[in-house]
C-alpha cells in the first residue's frame, strides 16, 4: 500500500507542541512527539479541524500555486461554486468568471455545471432498484475516506459517482479539444479553485481508480486577492455563467440533497455530527431514508479551510446570487437505447470503496486479543484525565501507543508525579528518623 499523501501538514517552526489539535482530531491521528505535533498519515482524513483550531497557525493546507501550470498552452479554471460566495455585493457570477480569464486562464468551466449533471445522475442512481439505501453522497472526499477507515459496512452505500470537480475537469478538457482542434491533451491544464484541502489530497492520490482529470488545485484564499483586484475592472460583461440554482446550491449543506427531488433525505455537516449519523446508519436503527448528504465542514463546502469568508455569510450571499437563476442549466440527455437508470461509464467510479483497517492491532485475532488485554492492563493504571500531556489525545489512546511500543508508560506525567511523591515520602522519612536518633544520643 502506498502512503496516502496529505494536504494538511505542519510547520514545525511554528508548532509549540500544545494539545489543541491533539484533542480536536476526530480520528486521533495526531500525537505530540519531541515537542511538536506528528500526523499519522494512514489515519488522517484531511478534515482540516487541526488547521481551524491551531492558535499558532502551525497547521496548514498545502495546495498548488498558479505558477505550476503557467507553461501549458491552454489553462482552464474550474471554480468551485463556493467561490461565488466569497465576494461582497457581487450581483453577477460572470464578474468572477471574467476575473479568472483576466488572471490568465484561457477558459473557465464552472464546477456548478458538473454538479447539476451529477445531481441528475444521482436521481437516476437512487431510482435504481438495486442501489443500496440509504445512498451516501460521494462528493465530500473527507467523508469517503472516513467511511473507508471506520465504517466498513457502509462502503457499499457510498454512491459510485465521480464528484463534480472530476466531471467538470473531464468535460472542460473534452470541450477544449473540440473548440481548438490544434490542441492536444498534453497542452491542456485544468485548475480547480478549491475551498478544501481534502480535494488537494484527492487529486494527488488519484483517489479513485484512474488518474484525476484535475491537474492542479489552487486554494481559494491564495487566489482571492489577485482575483478581487482584476474584478474591479469596469468592462461590459460577457454572459459566461451556465449554472443554475442546483449547481450553486451544492456549495452549502442541503443543496446537493434538495436536488434529488425527493424528501427522503438527510443532510448533515460538521465532522462530529457526521460521525454520529454514520454510527446510527451502521446500527441499522435509522429512519427510512434514500439519500444521505454528509459534509465534513460546518455549513458544507463554504466552510472549507481554504475559503476566505465565514461560511454562513458566504451561504447567505449565494442565496441572493441564485435567486433569479433557473433551477438548472445542465440536464442529462437521454441516451438512445438506454433505460431511465443509465449513467455513462465515465461518470462512474469503477473501483469499489475498500475498507482499510488502520486501527487493527494484529492480523491474527488471537494476537490482537492479547494486545488488547495488554492495553486494558496499561489503561487501568492511568489517571483517566485525558489531559494530553503524554502526547496522546486520551488515556485509552496512550495505552494503545504503549502496547504498540510507540510510547513509554513513564511519559504519563500524572503517574510520574505520584511516583515522585512516593519517593519523596520515603526519602524524607529516613533523615528525620536519623536526626531523631541523633538527638537521643
Amino acid at each position: 500500500m502506498t502512503e496516502y499523501k496529505h494536504s494538511v501538514s505542519l510547520d514545525i517552526e511554528k508548532c509549540k507542541g500544545c494539545t489543541n489539535c491533539l484533542k480536536r482530531c476526530p480520528t486521533e491521528a495526531i500525537r505530540i512527539r519531541n515537542g511538536h505535533a506528528v500526523i499519522n498519515s494512514s489515519r488522517c482524513i484531511d478534515c482540516g479541524e487541526c488547521i481551524r483550531i491551531c492558535p499558532y497557525k502551525a497547521k496548514k493546507a498545502i495546495s498548488d500555486k498558479l505558477d505550476a501550470i503557467k507553461d501549458f498552452k491552454w489553462k482552464i479554471a474550474l471554480p468551485a461554486p463556493s467561490l461565488y460566495g466569497q465576494f461582497d455585493s457581487l450581483d453577477e457570477i460572470d464578474y468572477v468568471l471574467q476575473g479568472l480569464l483576466d488572471l490568465g486562464f484561457d477558459d473557465v468551466f464552472e464546477v456548478a455545471r458538473a454538479a447539476e449533471l451529477v445531481s441528475g445522475y444521482t436521481r437516476r442512481y437512487i431510482n435504481r432498484p438495486n442501489s443500496i439505501k440509504p445512498v451516501i453522497s460521494s462528493a465530500c472526499p473527507v467523508i469517503v475516506r472516513l467511511i473507508s477507515l471506520r465504517f466498513p459496512y457502509l462502503c457499499d452505500n457510498v454512491m459510485p459517482l465521480q464528484p463534480p470537480m472530476e466531471i467538470a475537469a473531464m468535460l472542460a478538457k473534452k470541450q477544449a479539444l473540440e473548440k481548438n482542434p490544434d490542441l492536444c491533451e498534453s497542452d491542456i491544464a485544468t485548475c480547480f479553485i478549491s475551498p478544501c484541502p481534502a480535494k488537494v489530497s484527492y487529486v494527488k492520490n488519484d483517489a479513485t481508480d484512474k488518474k484525476s482529470y484535475v491537474d492542479c488545485v489552487v486554494s481559494m484564499s491564495d487566489i482571492y486577492f489577485s482575483l478581487l483586484g482584476v474584478m474591479k475592472k469596469a468592462k461590459p460583461l460577457l454572459p459566461l455563467s451556465r449554472s443554475g440554482m442546483i449547481g450553486i446550491g451544492w456549495a452549502s449543506t442541503g443543496g446537493e440533497s434538495s436536488a434529488i427531488f425527493n424528501d427522503k433525505y438527510l443532510a448533515a455537516d460538521g465532522i462530529e455530527n457526521v460521525m454520529k449519523v454514520l454510527d446510527q446508519i451502521d446500527n441499522g436503527t435509522f429512519p427510512d431514508l434514500e439519500f444521505i448528504e454528509l459534509n465534513a465542514c460546518n455549513g458544507g463546502c463554504v466552510g472549507g479551510t481554504m475559503a476566505v469568508e465565514n461560511p454562513y455569510i458566504a451561504k447567505a450571499r449565494l442565496q441572493t446570487l441564485k435567486r433569479y437563476l433557473p433551477v438548472s442549466q445542465n440536464w442529462n440527455r437521454k441516451t438512445a437505447g438506454e433505460d431511465d437508470f443509465y449513467i455513462p461509464d465515465d461518470y462512474i467510479i469503477q473501483s469499489e470503496l475498500e475498507y482499510k483497517p488502520v486501527s487493527q492491532l494484529a492480523n491474527d485475532t488471537n494476537e490482537a486479543i492479547k494486545k488488547m488485554a495488554d492495553i486494558q492492563a496499561v489503561r487501568e493504571q492511568l489517571p483517566d484525565l485525558d489531559c494530553g500531556s503524554c502526547g496522546a489525545p486520551t488515556c485509552q489512546a496512550f495505552a494503545y501507543d504503549v502496547v504498540k511500543g510507540e510510547a513509554s508508560e513513564d511519559e504519563c506525567i500524572v503517574k510520574m508525579r505520584m511516583r515522585i511523591k512516593e519517593l519523596l515520602k520515603s526519602d524524607y522519612a529516613k533523615p528525620e528518623k536519623e536526626s531523631a536518633e541523633n538527638d537521643s544520643k
Binding site: D279, N283, P357, T365, A368, I369, M372
Partner: protein, 142 residues
C-alpha cells in the same frame, strides 16, 4: 490456546440520548481486533437493540461482552420488571413501550426479534419482578 477478552459496560437507564454508546464502543474494539465488517455489524446491532431495551424497560443494566477468535458472547443483565410472556415478546411488532417512548421513535416491537436475527443463539432468562438476563452469541466463521 485461544485468548478471551472481556468488556464491561454500565448502561445508564436515565438517559435516552446516551443509549447506544456501549454498542459504538464495542464496534471500535471489534474493529481493532480485526473482525470482519459483517460480524461487527451483527454484534453492534444486537447490542444496540439490547441496550435500548434495557433503557426503555428496565432503567438500565450492565452489558458484558466476551470476545475470542471463534465467537463473541454478549450478556445483558438488568433488574427491571422481567418479561411475562417471552414467546409473545419475541413476536415482531409486539411492544409494551409507552407512548412517550414510541414518540421518540423506539418501541416498534423489533428489538428482541432483531437481536435473535442478528445472532447465532439467544437465550432469555427472565423472572417477573426480578429482572432479565439475555445471552447472545455470534459465531465467527473460520
Amino acid at each position: 490456546m485461544s485468548e478471551t477478552i472481556q468488556f464491561h459496560y454500565d448502561v445508564d437507564g436515565e438517559n435516552f440520548t446516551s443509549a447506544g454508546e456501549a454498542s459504538v464502543q464495542i464496534k471500535q474494539k471489534l474493529r481493532q481486533l480485526g473482525f470482519t465488517p459483517d460480524i461487527i455489524r451483527r454484534v453492534s446491532i444486537a447490542m444496540y437493540e439490547g441496550e435500548i431495551n434495557m433503557v426503555i424497560h428496565a432503567g438500565g443494566g450492565v452489558a458484558d461482552v466476551f470476545v475470542d477468535p471463534e465467537s463473541i458472547k454478549i450478556i445483558l443483565e438488568d433488574h427491571g420488571p422481567g418479561i411475562s410472556d417471552i414467546s409473545l415478546a419475541m413476536q415482531e411488532g409486539f411492544s409494551t413501550a409507552t407512548d412517550t417512548v414510541r414518540s421518540l421513535g423506539f418501541g416498534a416491537g423489533m428489538g428482541l426479534p432483531n437481536m435473535k436475527r442478528y445472532t447465532d443463539s439467544m437465550e432469555i432468562d427472565s423472572e417477573l419482578g426480578k429482572g432479565t438476563k439475555i445471552t447472545m452469541v455470534v459465531n465467527v466463521p473460520i
